[in-house]
């Protein structure tokens, strides 16, 4: 993998040392161009018109679904386009959860979760009078195995992230799905931080649902994915009602369209999906194995360099996803991020939509540096040097 060649496709990187890809990645010229090209030369609504241009747009849209399906080892009808991971998870909550979770049932998630994989389940449990179990973590932010075994007993729905967006923990989701299935529960995997970084195969994981966002993997905002097992999706009610999800309507009733259209009501963000297709092409041309090995190497370097900074405390394990969240002495995360910004380094500070985890760790907020395929060691050196300055000023 030639990082310099990749960087040439991302002009924005000349302006900033971008270490916030866990929030959203940058997009290469190829993705940006595919969106312009769509609007310039191919723009029509999809799945509606019968003229040539409309058919072409429908085909292009449908091809991206096939690409996304191949990308994670799913069937074409098992890929639903949403806006983002949050919408995908809410779709499962509304479509499967509200239909199947009853009073006295049990929903289980973990303290590591992003709010998007926590709040929908908390709300569902309250609505239905189900219990809500939150699996705890050990000192390295690894899932507490014995707590997991205890809480998963009798569960109906288990929701877990494939990679924590704060601690970087990569839980063994394959094993958790197996455990969930032994209890007769379905398993929902939030893979927003994993799919961008390594080969993912839904059949091998064995999950019932898996969610991710195009914008964290070189795609535009507005195109996210829900994978669901075909049988489960078939059994679910629509999430939104209106156009496209309908087969026929009369004044008495309506009949739902088949998969995947049943869950894609309304005109979709076609251009975003087209751009997402270009992002998948870009990642495929590098190869996800190569993405993984490059990112793992750079993540180790990030961990080592930050670990050397006096007083800097890294949250989570050494083996991790491509991000490091930390605290630095008494320096407030806002001040750290703002001082790094003065050296033109972009990092995230705050609770990263993971307040239960921060509360558990006893800190209001943290600072997070995250990397992707276009980052290089020199940028991490720059970050470490800049953090040394912060430490001297606030230490």
């Amino acid at each position: 993998m030639d990082v310099e060649k990749i960087r040439a496709d991302f002009p924005i990187l000349e302006k900033v040392t971008y270490l916030d890809s866990a929030a959203t990645s940058q997009r290469p010229n190829q993705v940006i161009e595919s969106i312009s090209e769509f609007y310039r030369d191919k723009n029509t609504n999809v799945e509606r018109g019968l003229y040539k241009l409309a058919e072409e747009a429908t085909l292009a849209y449908s091809e991206v679904r096939e690409k996304a399906a191949r990308f994670v080892g799913a069937g074409k009808n098992e890929i639903i386009f949403t806006r983002n991971t949050t919408e995908s998870l809410n779709l499962v909550m509304r479509g499967w959860g509200e239909k199947n979770v009853k009073k006295g049932d049990k929903i289980v998630t973990t303290i590591l979760e992003h709010h998007s994989n926590f709040v929908p389940w908390q709300v569902l449990a309250k609505k239905r009078g189900a219990s809500f179990g939150v699996v705890g973590i050990g000192g390295q932010c690894e899932l507490d195995e014995s707590d997991l075994e205890k809480k998963i007993k009798g569960a109906n729905l288990v929701a877990v992230s494939a990679a924590s967006n704060v601690a970087g923990t990569i839980p063994d989701v394959k094993k958790i799905c197996r455990m969930a299935h032994e209890e007769g529960a379905i398993c929902v995997v939030d893979a927003a931080q994993l799919v961008p970084s390594r080969p993912v195969d839904v059949k091998s994981i064995g999950c019932d649902f898996l969610t991710f966002s195009g914008h964290k993997m070189l795609g535009p905002f507005g195109a996210g994915v829900l994978y669901g097992k075909e049988g489960l999706l078939e059994s679910m009610d629509p999430f939104m009602y209106g156009s496209e999800m309908i087969r026929s309507v009369n004044t008495e009733s309506a009949e739902w369209n088949g998969l995947p259209h049943k869950f894609e009501s309304g005109t979709p963000d076609v251009a975003a999906v087209i751009g997402f297709g270009a992002a998948l092409d870009y990642l495929n041309s590098i190869g996800m194995e190569n993405v993984q090995s490059y990112e793992e190497g750079l993540t180790s370097y990030l961990y080592e360099r930050l670990d050397e900074v006096d007083g800097l405390e890294i949250i989570g394990p050494e083996k991790r996803a491509g991000l490091v969240a930390f605290t630095l002495g008494n320096a407030h995360p806002h001040d750290i991020a703002a001082m790094l910004d003065e050296d033109n380094i972009a990092v995230r500070s705050g609770h990263h939509c993971a307040m239960p985890l921060h509360e558990h760790l006893g800190i209001p907020a943290s600072t997070r540096a995250s990397i992707y395929i276009y980052n290089r060691k020199e940028e991490i050196d720059k970050l470490a040097e800049s953090l040394e300055k912060v430490r001297k000023i606030f230490g």
């Binding site: 407030h332 995360p333 806002h334 703002a338 705050g350 609770h351 800190i363």
Partner: protein, 122 residues
């Protein structure tokens, strides 16, 4: 532009007017959970004037420096004039241009927000 001028860092490390006031005439607590900033403002009045103002809290350098400066600014003000204090008044104390940093502007305005809450309790 450098936000972290020496006097800001100085006030962060050695704040002024930090502490509590027993039986304050005005008091308000503000908590911004998203960034962890928390401030409690205490005001003692005498004959319609602010006799003493103090704050307690945790937060970033901007919010803490601003709290030090703002409590100092309040001393001697007439209670009736508190409502007239504007955002610009509060921002002028900190002497750095935050017009392009809306998120940090919130930090700087934290003590003013606390004052507003104190004089108009919900």
């Amino acid at each position: 532009m450098d936000i972290y001028q020496e006097f800001i860092i100085g006030l962060y490390k050695n704040p002024k007017n930090k502490g509590t006031i027993d039986n304050p005439d005005l008091r308000a607590q503000l908590y911004n959970k998203s960034c962890g900033d928390a401030i409690t403002l205490f005001i003692k009045t005498e004959n319609g004037e602010i006799k003493d103002a103090k704050f307690m809290g945790e937060g970033c350098a901007i919010s803490m420096a601003s709290s030090s400066l703002f409590t100092g600014y309040l001393k001697g003000k007439k209670v009736g004039d508190l409502e007239k204090i504007t955002k610009d008044d509060a921002l002028s104390l900190i002497k750095i241009d935050l017009s392009k940093n809306p998120s940090r502007m919130k930090c700087a305005l934290l003590p003013l927000e606390a004052l507003k809450k104190a004089i108009r309790p919900e």
